[in-house]
Symmetry: C2
Subunit: 425 residues, 2 copies
């Protein structure tokens, strides 16, 4: 029951709202901004002026519109004024990217995990800080890093980002944000490091930049060895009391006769529909998981391999039951399948849909759409970037002021830059 | 991405915030209001003055404080200026109450359902409008009815309140809000009629006035013939895309060997843990459901009846699995059991807790509390009243102005009234 905002808070809110709009939607005319934000044109003029003076947006002629007459100026986000560092601690690889305002990939690095198990957080942090150092040295002059976010395959406490548990890395109660911030300090002495669960970040990415644009209530299911969910409710990420919401992989669907799960229970969704269940049912070595292994089962099924096809159907049945349960609980208008669930679904869509039809209430499934991820392998990294951008998108000018004060030097003018995509693996 | 509010919107917001605070917490000093709302004392003075002038609050000496010295005035909600009509279409009875600001029961009526199946919505509306007419005639002079809300055992579309399905009444796609508004028109020509699901309203009630006060993330499970859930996330009710969220009763927990469910599927939570499952396992007639039937099984088990005890243990196991799933998905800090699940839990707490320990992730269950409803049989009715109050609590003065204009007469001064509780059944 907080009191309403002051005029200055309203202005900061409006600056953020305008910046978010062009960050997500790209170049937009002032007239459209006024309509979308419900503000009059003189207010828009003032807000655009403030953001342009800070170098966060620029006004320019639009790309070819195909219409006759003099085109009106559009406001576009400036990718070379602020950027973020997004990191993905994937199952098979470490990836890092520098991403500019508007979601432009400025630079990118990835490598396999360093040896050893359980992984030493400090060593992982050192490798990633090395990537960051290289990329930041090549960043556009005058551009500031305004946030760092790390995606983790595991259970992450909100809001402090403590990694409670990551089964595949063997981490328990690890302050990776702190370890990484220490290593980043020479390059980024003051930038906050956020850590979040990979499925939550996947949901954020699909909601803002993927197939979920325009949906306000969606569930993103991310499959790798495990299955996680990120849930968007009324446009916001569901976190729960401590940040652990969305652990759909450990929803019990087959409690008495189910396969044992790594969590110690039996018949969890990820025990029945995860990569290992698929690979073992298909007669493969369940220890060799990953996108290639899953894809080879789907390909074999396509070619008529009966065992592979039956394995896919079995897993598709469980996946459909899991989606039906999630739909009955969250009433989303969209369920997005990402990671290796994308391939599993493409190979078992009939089973998935049949179980959804059986087990979802008619009213709930009436307008429910089921889609695969649009952002592919970059979903999680893009989600991490969006999390890292959240501060500057909420309070643009305050954030820039804080950063420039901490660095004790005024920022230079933005310089043009070409987006690049590099891989170093 | 809406723009921020205007100064007038901020003032309306602050008026609502102050009114909500005293509505939920009762008499509160200006100093505490200032602290809780983060506003300075002169702003509080102005807000209290506006609300007092409208008759919504009054300042008075507090009850005995036990402290020495002159006590400071407290602001308390005025129960005889505005009230709401709350209606509960229960499984066994129809209930209606007039409830004043601050949650004071002013009057109350209830009766068994009229004969016939499926129930005729117009006939049900007529009976309830009769109750409303009697109670409104006895309402304090000068008090206005500012909202009507109806709790339904079924699936209700948001925001229009269309009753999509109520298995026990046989309604499908029924506009009960419209039917009830028609019958209420002679007494309440212009008051909005809201309709909502009973478990959602139970969640609202426990969150605002029951065991869930202070919790921002809770799940309320309501058991009768079916099992429904109301979910509070960050202090707000989860509705989903169309209002159908929380259909936990149709979460599949035993898909291949489960009991058939009324929805057409198999192994839904309510098929395994609902009243019928309990009664049939205990050797009773599964058609005679209700609080008394459930309680008789619990009592028999307490007295050593082995069949009753085993039935409770079996149902407790399924209930525990259901709660574990809900906890893994929503990460609440509190799960509240209401309706007949209250008795089921009291008779099977060991089984419920054991399944939660097995099937909930350690991080999720670490701070999870499990409690029974504090509001008892009135939970749903209180929740309906809170829903009906929501407009006046958001925009107090605007709502009063609208109502007084529509009735073409200025409201009289509030008159003192004694809260009464009557039953007419």
């Amino acid at each position: 029951m907080k009191a309403g905002p002051s005029q200055e808070e309203v202005r900061q809110h409006n600056l953020g709202a305008l910046l978010r709009l062009v960050h997500f939607d790209g170049p937009t005319s002032r007239a459209v901004l006024a309509t979308r934000l419900g503000l009059n044109r003189s207010t828009i003029l003032g807000l655009v002026g403030d953001l342009a003076a800070a170098g966060l947006v620029r006004e320019e002629l639009p790309q070819e519109t195909g219409r006759a007459g003099r085109p009106s100026l559009v406001v576009r986000p400036e990718p070379a004024r602020v950027h973020v560092l997004a990191v993905d601690l994937g199952v098979e690889r470490l990836a890092a990217a520098l991403i500019g305002l508007g979601g432009v990939f400025l630079d990118r690095r990835e490598c396999p995990w360093p040896d050893g198990h359980p992984q030493d957080p400090a060593r992982v942090a050192a490798v990633l800080a090395g990537f960051a150092h290289e990329m930041l040295a090549r960043a556009p002059a005058g551009s500031s890093c305004v946030g760092v976010a790390v995606a983790v395959r595991g259970i992450v406490r909100h809001p402090d980002g403590l990694v409670s548990l990551t089964p595949n890395m063997g981490w328990k109660g690890v302050d990776f944000a702190g370890a990484f911030a220490d290593r980043l300090r020479p390059d980024l002495p003051d930038v906050p490091v956020l850590v979040a669960n990979e499925a939550n970040l996947g949901a954020l990415a699909e909601h803002r930049r993927g197939i979920g644009r325009g949906s306000q209530n969606l569930v993103y299911l991310h499959g790798e060895i495990g299955i996680g969910a990120g849930v968007i409710i009324d446009g916001e990420l569901l976190r729960g009391e401590r940040g652990y919401a969305g652990e759909v992989g450990h929803m019990t669907v087959n409690p008495y006769r189910g396969r044992p799960c790594g969590c110690g229970a039996r018949g969890c969704l990820e025990a029945e529909a995860g990569e290992r269940a698929l690979l073992e049912a298909a007669g493969r070595d369940g220890r060799v998981t990953g996108a290639d292994a899953v894809r080879s089962v789907v390909t074999a099924a396509d070619r008529g391999d009966v065992t592979a096809r039956e394995a896919l159907h079995r897993v598709g049945d469980w996946l459909g039951i899991g989606i039906a349960n999630v739909a009955n609980l969250f009433d989303p208008d969209l369920v997005v399948l990402g990671g290796t669930l994308r391939d599993v679904f493409l190979g078992s869509a009939a089973q998935v849909r049949s179980q959804i039809n059986t087990n979802t209430l008619a009213a709930v499934r009436e307008n429910l759409r089921l889609r695969v991820s649009e952002l592919g392998a970059d979903t999680v990294l893009i989600g991490a970037a969006e999390l890292a951008f959240s501060e500057v998108l909420s309070r643009p000018l305050e954030t820039l002021t804080r950063i420039s004060e901490q660095r004790q030097g005024p920022p230079g003018p933005p310089r043009d830059t070409e987006p690049v995509r590099t891989r170093a693996d």
